[in-house]
Each structure stands twice: as structure tokens, then as C-alpha cells.
């Protein structure tokens, strides 16, 4: 599934942009390449570097390694078992940002994988076939356990079946039912919690040789909840005019720690505390978000975006919006790892397993199309958006199927016209800068005319 950027390690490509920058409102577009970084950005970088180093030395230190997916991830549980999590989707998007996914995808196709299937899977398979070198340039350890918590995407099943055949390791399956009619029933919660108790925890304990302490787990979950409070505050700040953040391109950085290996840690709590402080300061100064080429001088358009970004041309893609003064004030992609803005918090339910069940069930793509339409419509209204753009991905049936119908529904419910573009996640063959630029510019022109005549 789509996921947050956790780039910014020593050997990674230059980060698309600092989270914020103490700058005046006047910004030169092609600012100096030496960008000033915020403390939170540095902090995230340091967290990542430390984590990848831990992973690289997992064999020596005896730490067990669990591969898992971002949506519905059980990071606190993995931590409570003393293991380290690896998130193949993150590896894939990082490969794309470092311009390596093209080679990996082609390698997978050379090995017989079809051009039609999800490029995340192919990127991962290709990376594995090419030595499994992680974003820091160090080899990633093989999994001791594949934790197949599949929320909102059937391709996850196929993906880990493929990996299991490669590694021959233990695999644990967690079936998370779909919220087809927009509700979570008690049966669904208990089904998930029971699988955690009878399938996931025993397998985790088997590979790590360590008992999971449920009290410790509950404490980790409460810590997650506190970080989630701060994240929601940051995302909500986009309701202000001008918005101090970009909730899509910038947002993927903001959700990085909470969507992946860091949830439940003190580092993570500290990161979000600092981030909130930075955004609050920007808000007080009435500053816009920091975009690829500096702080946005004038917020001309407020946009909601549905769908993950393209990773191979992330900066170019973002730049199209920046050049037009378009700020993304809310996005669905930053909810694939949890809809915290709708009220969910880890640790809310005192039973840690039910709390994790609620989390898994609540991720964005586990919601019905109707619920997705309602959420997007509420974003358009609550964030005062002028328009909404759907970035439809060739790779991802989970996100993409139904988006054209959703677009018409959101238009109907909000009276705001939608824009539709098509790209891919990590396969650069499906990204055309000229075409996307053209479409976004025409769309924004139309929005400008609407605003002028309103």
C-alpha cells in the first residue's frame, strides 16, 4: 500500500523539502540548494538513520525482524515482542525517490512478473533479486516473520505469498474485514482481536522467544495516542488561511514516523511535539507551507487530494502545484496508516488487542466508497477547498477502482469540480510530466475562473 516517506538517510536522495524553514514570507522560487532544515526534520532523519543501522546489525544483536505493511500495521505489538519492523512499501517508495525503482520493476518483469500488476510488488521483488540493499546502502536483513496484516488491499496477500516462497520463513495472517457499509461491528472487532491472540502473538513469540507483555503493549499504545493528538493538530492547522502546511506533499513527511516503525516510541512522541511547535510558530507568523522551492508566497488555491502521490517524480509533481500557488489542505493518502483526524487513537480502548483491532479496521482504504466520498466531501467543506484532485494510480486497484464514480459524487455533494489525473507509484513509465502539468494547470485555470465569477 501507499505509504509515507521515510527518506532522508545518509545515502538517500536529497529530501524533497524541509518541513519548514524559518524564512520570511518573501521567497525566491529557485532558492539556494542549501536549504535550512527544521529541528523536526533533522530529528526524523536521525531516527531513520538509527533505525536502519539497527536493522543492518539485527543479526549481530540478535534482534528478530518482522516484515509488515503500513495500513493496519501492528508496530507497537512488534515492539512489545522485541522485534524490528520492516515495511516493504517504504522501501519501494524510497527506491523510487532514489530513481532506482525503474531498474527493480524491470528486473521483476524480466523474472516473469506481469506489466499489469502493482508496481510496489515488482519493485520489492526486483530489489530482493538485486541484493536487498536498503535505503542507507546497507543490506536489509531477511524476515524472521512475515506479518500479513492485510488491511484494505488484496494484493498484500499475493505479495507476502511471493516473499514467503523466497524466504521460506514463518508467516502470520491477520484477516481484517472490510467496512463495506461504513460500520465496524463488534463481531469484526472480536474476530480481529482473536486472531491477534491466537495467530499473531503466538507466532511473534515463537520467532522472538519473548513473551508479549500486554501491559507494556498498552503503555506503548497510550504513547502512540499522545503523538497522534499532535499529528491531528498539525493536520488541522491547514484549516487556517493561509495554511501553514501542505497536507499531501508535506503531509507524507508528517505521517512518516507514525505510519511506520516509530509509533509507540518516545522519539515519536517527541517528534510530533516538536513538529506541532514548529507549525504553531509558522501559524503565528501567518506563513504558508514550505514547498520544494521555498515558502509559498501566496496561497492561490486550496486543494484536497485523493490518492497516493507518484514517487518517481515527487518533486516535479509537487512543483506543478507550487508554481500555481496551490496548497493541498487535506488528503486521503495521509490516512492510509490511520484516520486519526476522525477521532481514533491507539489505546482508546483499554483492551490493547481491541484497540489494535479498531486501528486495523479503520484505515482509509478499508472504508467503503460511500464513506470515502463522505470523508473527501467533508475535507472540501471543512478545509474551505476550492477544488479536489484525484491522482489515480495504475498500480492500485484498492485506491483506484471507483474513483471516477467517487469524483462525480463528491462534485455533487460539494458543488466543487474535481480534477482527474493518472500516474503510477514507482513505475516511471507511467508518469508524464508534460501531461500532468497540462492537466493540473488547466484545472486550476478553471478553478480560478470560478473563483473570479463567484
Amino acid at each position: 500500500m501507499k505509504l509515507p516517506i521515510t527518506e532522508a538517510t545518509a545515502n538517500a536522495a536529497p529530501p524533497p523539502a524541509p518541513l519548514a524553514r524559518a524564512a520570511s514570507q518573501v521567497v525566491q522560487r529557485d532558492a539556494s540548494p542549501t536549504v535550512q532544515k527544521d529541528a523536526s526534520m533533522d530529528r526524523q532523519k536521525a531516527m531513520l538513520a538509527g533505525y536502519f543501522s539497527e536493522l543492518a546489525h539485527a543479526r549481530e544483536t540478535g534482534r528478530k525482524v518482522v516484515y509488515t505493511f503500513v495500513p493496519g500495521n501492528l508496530t507497537e505489538l512488534i515492539r512489545a515482542a522485541g522485534a524490528l519492523g520492516v515495511y516493504p512499501e517504504v522501501n519501494a517508495l524510497q527506491s523510487a525517490m532514489r530513481q532506482r525503482s525503474d531498474g527493480f520493476v524491470r528486473e521483476a518483469e524480466r523474472l516473469g512478473h506481469n506489466e499489469d500488476v502493482c508496481s510496489y510488488v515488482k519493485c520489492d521483488v526486483g530489489m530482493l533479486a538485486s541484493g536487498n540493499i536498503g535505503p542507507t546502502g546497507e543490506k536489509l536483513p531477511p524476515p524472521d516473520l512475515l506479518l500479513l496484516s492485510y488491511t484494505g488491499c488484496f494484493t498484500f496477500l499475493k505479495w507476502f505469498e511471493l516473499l514467503q516462497k523466497e524466504y521460506g520463513c514463518e508467516i502470520a495472517m491477520l484477516h481484517v474485514p472490510y467496512q463495506a457499509d461504513g460500520t465496524v461491528t463488534e463481531d469484526m472487532r472480536r474476530y480481529v482481536a482473536k486472531q491477534l491472540a491466537t495467530e499473531v502473538i503466538p507466532k511473534l513469540e515463537k520467532v522472538t522467544g519473548r513473551k508479549v507483555d500486554l501491559d507494556e503493549l498498552a503503555e506503548l499504545l497510550r504513547r502512540s495516542g499522545r503523538a497522534e493528538d499532535d499529528l491531528v493538530w498539525v493536520l488541522d492547522s491547514a484549516k487556517s488561511r493561509p495554511s501553514p502546511i501542505d497536507a499531501y506533499f508535506g503531509g507524507v513527511y508528517y505521517v512518516g514516523p507514525i505510519f511506520t516503525a516509530f509509533r509507540g516510541t518516545e522519539d515519536c512522541e517527541g517528534y510530533y511535539h516538536d513538529l506541532r511547535g514548529e507549525v504553531a510558530a509558522r501559524l503565528a507568523r501567518r506563513e504558508g507551507p514550505v514547498m520544494p522551492n521555498g515558502v509559498l508566497a501566496e496561497e492561490r488555491f486550496r486543494i484536497v487530494v485523493e490518492g497516493p502521490p507518484n514517487w518517481t517524480h515527487f518533486r516535479d509533481f509537487w512543483r506543478i502545484f507550487y508554481d500555481e500557488g496551490a496548497v493541498v489542505v487535506a488528503s486521503s493518502y495521509t490516512k492510509v496508516g490511520g484516520l486519526y483526524d476522525q477521532g481514533f487513537r491507539h489505546g482508546q480502548d483499554r483492551d490493547p488487542l481491541l484497540s489494535l483491532a479498531d486501528y486495523c479496521l479503520g484505515c482509509y482504504t478499508n472504508h467503503s466508497l460511500t464513506a470515502r466520498v463522505e470523508l473527501l466531501s467533508s475535507y472540501v467543506r471543512d478545509f474551505g477547498a476550492d477544488g479536489f484532485v484525484i491522482n489515480s494510480l495504475k498500480s492500485c486497484n484498492s485506491f483506484s477502482v471507483g474513483q471516477l464514480v467517487m469524483m462525480r459524487e463528491v462534485e455533487k455533494r460539494t458543488g466543487v469540480p474535481g480534477g482527474f489525473i493518472e500516474t503510477d507509484l514507482v513505475d516511471p513509465r507511467y508518469y508524464s510530466q508534460a501531461n500532468i502539468k497540462n492537466r493540473i494547470e488547466s484545472y486550476l485555470q478553471m478553478i480560478a475562473q470560478r473563483k473570479a465569477s463567484a
Partner: protein
């Protein structure tokens, strides 16, 4: 032409008419003879039809519009990189051709069918739409319990539809028995085809199985038996063709012309996974006197076919395909998958690896339900057949 041949041909002709009837006349005539009773559309691949039947409704399998419908509005709902089945299904709905159906059940086959349930909710707000989350956790105490409770809820909902009745232990036991008989009849036909494919051409057997999409189960069982008996009496000689298994066509169905092309290019198709939902539960001789709802749930856990849409680690599907090839004495495999079908296409590399390790040859192509050009496939299948014959002789 003997009278027996005519009988088989007659049955096939009837089945072809049912296949071509996209406006569901057969369903409407069933409704005319069962006034007030609902008909429920079931999306691929598997929904326990027994439960729908036990509620007094007619289960109707929806398998897309094939190559018989022009897509006008359906394309406006789907991007080009999504398989074809949902767009023709939406087209059928928007053209009013599914109006005879009182509700729809969408099983958890893949992200496309899952999201199609949402599209249906948005496009047809008045209709009963139900998503059925088939468990992937196959332990009776987790997936089994969850699924049984969900089936119970589904049964109750069907009972609340106008003209429906909540299934009772008795009605469900009867339905379970009737579908078990149907599965046994289908298994006999499948076996006959493996033994004497010259008597049971692929297009015919497919049409006969496919008739079960719209016919009442008892009528269909009779039809399958009658066809199998009539086909057995045919006087036809085996031709020099290779024996192949088709894999990957379990959901979106290839057009009839494509099936005919394969067999006319020097192949006997001795097994396939077309319309897999019809034989999803493997038949059993064991008599089950337990609670029928529990039987239904356990049948899913214990007797489901090996399928690309079910979680199966440990290379089980590869082993299963090799076993299928061996049991059916096939010379090779034709991977025929719908374009953009993630479950079928993601499975191909490991399946091909398993075949490679077992020295079983294969070819691969993609199709859409409305593919109209078969020349390339004819050549591919012909070359495959020739090479196997040559290789076999060598």
C-alpha cells in the same frame, strides 16, 4: 447424425441461448412461476448459493457482459487499467438489464469486486447490496466463527427482502443437499471431459456449466446429467491433439470464440478454472447431519478449491497445479488470464516456476471478455500443440 448427438446438441443450443440472454429472461420466467420471490445477483467468484436458495430466492451468478455488449456508460466509471468485468457489469446495470434482480452479493474476491460493491451502492441506491467477507483465517475458531455469524446475518437480511424467508434449518438442509447433488453432477461431467475430451468439447461443457448461473439448481443438475449422458453416447473418435489445462480464467470469462479457438488449434482442454464459483466447494460423499449453517461455513474452510484469491502460502498452488496436470494426464498448461487481473497475474511467476521444476510446458496469454481477435492465440496454441507433439515424439 444420431438422435443422441442431437440430444446433446439440443441441450447445448439451449445453454447457448441462456448464455446470450443478457436481459435475464430465464430469471424473469422463474419469477413468473414463483410469484413474489426475489432473485439475487452474485458476483464472482464464490458466494454460497445454498443460503440464497434456502431463503426462497433464485441465486443468479453475474459473470460480466462478455463480448455481447457495447460499453457506453461503463467505461466512464473505470480507468483503462482495470479489468473488463466491472465495466460490462455496470453497463448491464445502467442499461436496466439486471432489473430482474432484487439484490446483489459481492464476495471478497479482490479489490475490484470489493470496490464494485461500493460503486453499486452509489449508482443504485435503492438496491440491496451486500458485501460478503469470506474469511482468510481458516481456523474454525476464528474465521469459521466469524463467517458463520456473517452467513446467519446474511440469511436474516435475505429473509427481510420482499418475498424472502429467513432460511430455516430445514430449508437450508434441503438447499445444501440440492447443491451437493449439483456439484456431484458437475464433477462427473468434469471427469468425463478429462477422460474423453473428444466427446465433451470445451465450449459445450462450459455452456452447460454456465447455464447454472441462471437456472434453478434442480433444473440445472438435471440438465448437466442429461448432457453428460448424451455426450457419452456420442460416436466420435479421439483426434491427435495435445491435452491441456487452462489456468487463470476463474473470474472474468474469456469469450466463447476464444475457447473454441484453443480447441481448434490442436488442443483438448481436459480441465480449466472457468466459472470457478460453480465448483468452488469440492463435492463430498460424506453425509452431514449437523447444523447446516455450520456445514456451510466448514465447507468453505475445508473444501474450497485452491484458488488465487485465497491466502495459501507454502507454494501450495504450484503443487496443486502440478497435481492437476498429472491427474488429468495433461501435456501442458495454458495460462489465460484477464488483463489487469492482479490475483491471476501475480500468481503466474510462482506457478510457472512450479511447472518448470516439474518439466511441464506452458504458454501464457491475456484476454478481455470482449477480445475479438483470436489470430495470435490460434497461432500460439497451434505452435504449442505442434511443439509438444514433436517433443513428445522425439
Amino acid at each position: 447424425m444420431s438422435s443422441n448427438v442431437t440430444e446433446a446438441d439440443e441441450i447445448v443450443r439451449r445453454c447457448e441461448a441462456l448464455y446470450a440472454d443478457l436481459s435475464l429472461s430465464a430469471v424473469k420466467s422463474w419469477q413468473a412461476s414463483h410469484p413474489g420471490r426475489p432473485a439475487i445477483g452474485l458476483l464472482p467468484i464464490y458466494v454460497p448459493r445454498e443460503l440464497v436458495h434456502a431463503s426462497g430466492a433464485l441465486p443468479v451468478s453475474i459473470l460480466g457482459g462478455g463480448d455481447q455488449i457495447d460499453i457506453v456508460k461503463g467505461d466512464a466509471c473505470f480507468q483503462s487499467y482495470i479489468c473488463h468485468l466491472p465495466r460490462s457489469t455496470v453497463e448491464l446495470g445502467l442499461q436496466g438489464r439486471l432489473e430482474a434482480l432484487d439484490g446483489f452479493v459481492f464476495p471478497s474476491t479482490c479489490d475490484v469486486i470489493r470496490n464494485l460493491s461500493g460503486i453499486w451502492q452509489l449508482l443504485f441506491p435503492g438496491k440491496y447490496v451486500r458485501y460478503l467477507d469470506l474469511p482468510q483465517a481458516m481456523d474454525p475458531s476464528t474465521g469459521g466463527e466469524f463467517y458463520r455469524r456473517d452467513l446467519e446475518a446474511l440469511g436474516a437480511e435475505l429473509g427481510r427482502l420482499p418475498g424472502g424467508n429467513a432460511p430455516t434449518t430445514e430449508s437450508l438442509a434441503t438447499s445444501v443437499r440440492l447443491y451437493e447433488e449439483n456439484r456431484r453432477a458437475l464433477a462427473t461431467l468434469r471427469q468425463l471431459r478429462a477422460e474423453a475430451p473428444w466427446l465433451v468439447p470445451l465450449d459445450e461443457s462450459y455452456l452447460v456449466v454456465r447455464a447454472g448461473a441462471v437456472l434453478d439448481v434442480e433444473e440445472h443438475t438435471e440438465l448437466v446429467r442429461a448432457y453428460a449422458a448424451a455426450a457419452t453416447r456420442r460416436r466420435r473418435k479421439a483426434e491427435d491433439r495435445i491435452r491441456v489445462v487452462i489456468a487463470g480464467a476463474f473470474c472474468e470469462q474469456p469469450p466463447l470464440g476464444l475457447l473454441r479457438t484453443i480447441e481448434r488449434s490442436g488442443c483438448y482442454v481436459v480441465d480449466d478454472d472457468l466459472f470457478l464459483g460453480a465448483r468452488w466447494i469440492q463435492p463430498t460423499e460424506a453425509e452431514d447431519r449437523g447444523d447446516p449453517l455450520t456445514s456451510l461455513a466448514l465447507a468453505y474452510l475445508n473444501r474450497s478449491v485452491v484458488a488465487s484469491t485465497r491466502y495459501q502460502p507454502d507454494g501450495l498452488r504450484g503443487e496443486d497445479l502440478v497435481r492437476q496436470v498429472r491427474e488429468k494426464r495433461a501435456d501442458g498448461v495454458i495460462f489465460a488470464a484477464p488483463s489487469f487481473c492482479d490475483p491471476a497475474l501475480l500468481d503466474q511467476p510462482p506457478l510457472q516456476k512450479a511447472l518448470g521444476e516439474a518439466s511441464i510446458p506452458f504458454i501464457t496469454f491475456k484476454y478481455a471478455e470482449n477480445t475479438g481477435q483470436f489470430q495470435a492465440i490460434r497461432e500460439q496454441a497451434g505452435t504449442f500443440s505442434d511443439s509438444i507433439k514433436l517433443w513428445g515424439e522425439g
